[in-house]
Subunit: 261 residues, 4 copies
Amino acid sequence: VYIPLPTSQHVEWAAKAIEAGKHVLVEKPLALDAKDILPLIKLRDAKKVLVCEAFMVIYHPQWIKVRDLIASGAIGRLRHVQGAFSYYNVDPNNMRNQLDLGGGALPDIGVYPTVSTRFSTGKEPLRVQATIERDKKFGTDIYSSIRADFGDFELSFYLSTQMAARQVMVFHGEKGFIEVFSPFNAGLYDHHRVELHNQNHTEAQVFRFPGTQQYRLEVETIARVAQGGKERVFTLEESVLNQKVIDAIFRAGGTDGWETV
Amino acid sequence: VYIPLPTSQHVEWAAKAIEAGKHVLVEKPLALDAKDILPLIKLRDAKKVLVCEAFMVIYHPQWIKVRDLIASGAIGRLRHVQGAFSYYNVDPNNMRNQLDLGGGALPDIGVYPTVSTRFSTGKEPLRVQATIERDKKFGTDIYSSIRADFGDFELSFYLSTQMAARQVMVFHGEKGFIEVFSPFNAGLYDHHRVELHNQNHTEAQVFRFPGTQQYRLEVETIARVAQGGKERVFTLEESVLNQKVIDAIFRAGGTDGWETV
Amino acid sequence: VYIPLPTSQHVEWAAKAIEAGKHVLVEKPLALDAKDILPLIKLRDAKKVLVCEAFMVIYHPQWIKVRDLIASGAIGRLRHVQGAFSYYNVDPNNMRNQLDLGGGALPDIGVYPTVSTRFSTGKEPLRVQATIERDKKFGTDIYSSIRADFGDFELSFYLSTQMAARQVMVFHGEKGFIEVFSPFNAGLYDHHRVELHNQNHTEAQVFRFPGTQQYRLEVETIARVAQGGKERVFTLEESVLNQKVIDAIFRAGGTDGWETV
Amino acid sequence: VYIPLPTSQHVEWAAKAIEAGKHVLVEKPLALDAKDILPLIKLRDAKKVLVCEAFMVIYHPQWIKVRDLIASGAIGRLRHVQGAFSYYNVDPNNMRNQLDLGGGALPDIGVYPTVSTRFSTGKEPLRVQATIERDKKFGTDIYSSIRADFGDFELSFYLSTQMAARQVMVFHGEKGFIEVFSPFNAGLYDHHRVELHNQNHTEAQVFRFPGTQQYRLEVETIARVAQGGKERVFTLEESVLNQKVIDAIFRAGGTDGWETV
């Protein structure tokens, strides 16, 4: 079962589907608070089904390439991850601009920079700091600027639903940096393209992934795993970790200081 | 007179040159504390000479293009400026790695993102927040991650003298964003190239400035102004404003919170 | 009806489908000799159906943009069109490497540079000159280098089925030039991207067409026209003009001189 | 001695300088006919001096990289070299538009695609084919489209002094292709940048040569060789080979067929 309902109804309908013994793929964000996911984990274990939040990006080979490049030492010690994700949409009828349906920039796109950083590095953020602005009419969050401390390195990024479209992720180490040109809507924002630059910026390697359909790869992978395959999927446990970051960002937006994840 | 001495001797020798009635171009950073610049201003006014800190970037036509594009409304309301500036140098004999000569990332390159943002927008930062790391052996600051609140918009950037070379500045508004591909060492890091992207990322305008020699333009402009010409130069008053930002960043690095500029 | 059979059977099955009163979309190349298309035109007119060779490229908005830019005078007087189209395939089981199935580089990809030039300029080639190489084992043509004289301007391009993949088309005039980055397999070879450069190469405009599916646009357009819509499709008359160019290229490859189209 | 006079006076003044026992660097084109260079070779040998035509491009590390990549097999068997070189200049006072001073596109820029191909591959063209157009007022050649048969591979390119600025050279083999982005006015037309693409266009390597000053490298190399150094320079014997190509192109432009070099 695939659940693409408004965000505010995800947990409820996911639970119903699990109880019916179905494997479930829930559109992200699965929940609006990490603790809402915990009952689903219990239910999942009881019913022995597969339940996944729909993070298509981790099935795209460009992200597997980024993870492998970092692991191979291609950029040396990672020190900073810099990202951005924005689009412009002020349509009051759009779910993303409706607070009671779970709208807002952080629920909609805020998890992508964190998910892709967690996936690429295998590390978890320890604490976060954030500035958050809300739309006066919609009440939803429309702009955030965030720093996340991963211990070994830092992630900084900003988000907006009221800025020109931009998406980029850069993983920057001592020996090189990796730039992902179309990190989230691969092939739509720009070409599926990853570049690895050397230490003094005189050489680069370019990797292209033409024709990749990340949503199809996601569904196919989940189908194989549901039938017993051993492949990496995005588990509910990871959803909890992700949602904890978003929860901490919302808290940090209120206190103007660092908040532990 | 052009003063390219180690940073720690800039103020002293600039003062001597002014007293001798010379026009002075001092290599940046002029000082290591904003208050050290004030006596130079008095001296300059007394001697009626021209004294400028060597910020070559503001003489490069690519920055004049950025300023004009923003002023023309090409990107709509500006909300975020994102930047990076880094290179890798661990040579202990290099002045940049010697604390007593005024070394460190912030004195060497920390001012560029701020200067170019101030120049392009005409706005001043109100407060800053920073994380700063120092080299255990050199004692100099080698990595900073900074957020600066300009009231209307935010600037976020990171610096390092121990990361692979990267330099970029992005001015991101509601209707578009501007990317400067080789913002500081134009033509050396990459081509002199500015791109303006539209709101949904389907169109872009590219501006190239081949063969521009920003150091030559700087010297020629200053020479004309010294002889009575009316053109924009980087005044000591601006040096004070800049240095106040750096001073506040150093304070913020100690307190882990916001510091007023 | 869509006919994707081996090339050598296209005309026969297209005729059968037309006789059955069906609208027909035939995979290109429709024929291996221009005169084989003439009976299909008669049949089409008798049966009052729509018959089109599958040139998906002319339905892609990037080519409509190129045509409009040229027509608007954006590059001034057009003087040269330069192109390339190649891939590497030496699989003896592939239809493209089987002479009796209508294989070869010219039948497979040779028409694209000409079709896109004819579409973009509205002009027809007057004469052509060509060097053609054949595979010793397959007997098929595997490499051609071609110049086509359009009177006002010239088209030069080369093709190969045994060279690394490359595809590009450049329309070069007195005031600027247009480069199409992924002219034929848009979105697969590279991003859907067209650039217009100014006379001294200091400025450029970039046009992107993310997510365009040219095959879908083709089928949808043809479906609308089959139902009475008034839109441009690729007619059999155009197929004849195209095939005449290919026929002339084959002749020119034999004589090592110019051949009238 | 460096001789930057109008083309028509190069041979005469080069001869005078050699007779005076000077090492000579002559601006290209050295001559307007290959046989005019032969007396200079005799004179050079008699006076035991160094005489070079100023082909700065072969001293640029980007061309050494191209040559090494081809030699290393990076693109497999080379089959086609495609190039273009143009700018727009209709100033009647410019030497390039004055027939009696040796003006014209072929003398001015026609040798670059051939020189760089000869340098990168170590091969000589066997025969050429060309279309040449002349300006009605100036009488000089302003547009040429040329194919040169190198036996193993082909070079096709066009030139113009009355088209928008463009310069590119692509070396295309079975396993990959190399693109030189700013082949002749490196750093001015665009960045010093060479790209190597793999067989199916999914990966590329980028090589940048920031800050290279090819004229300085040329002069320094020649100075070292004049003082006994053993390095590659562009000899008068190579000037003869080059000029023979230009001479053959002019002949081919008249006969509309192939001309042996």
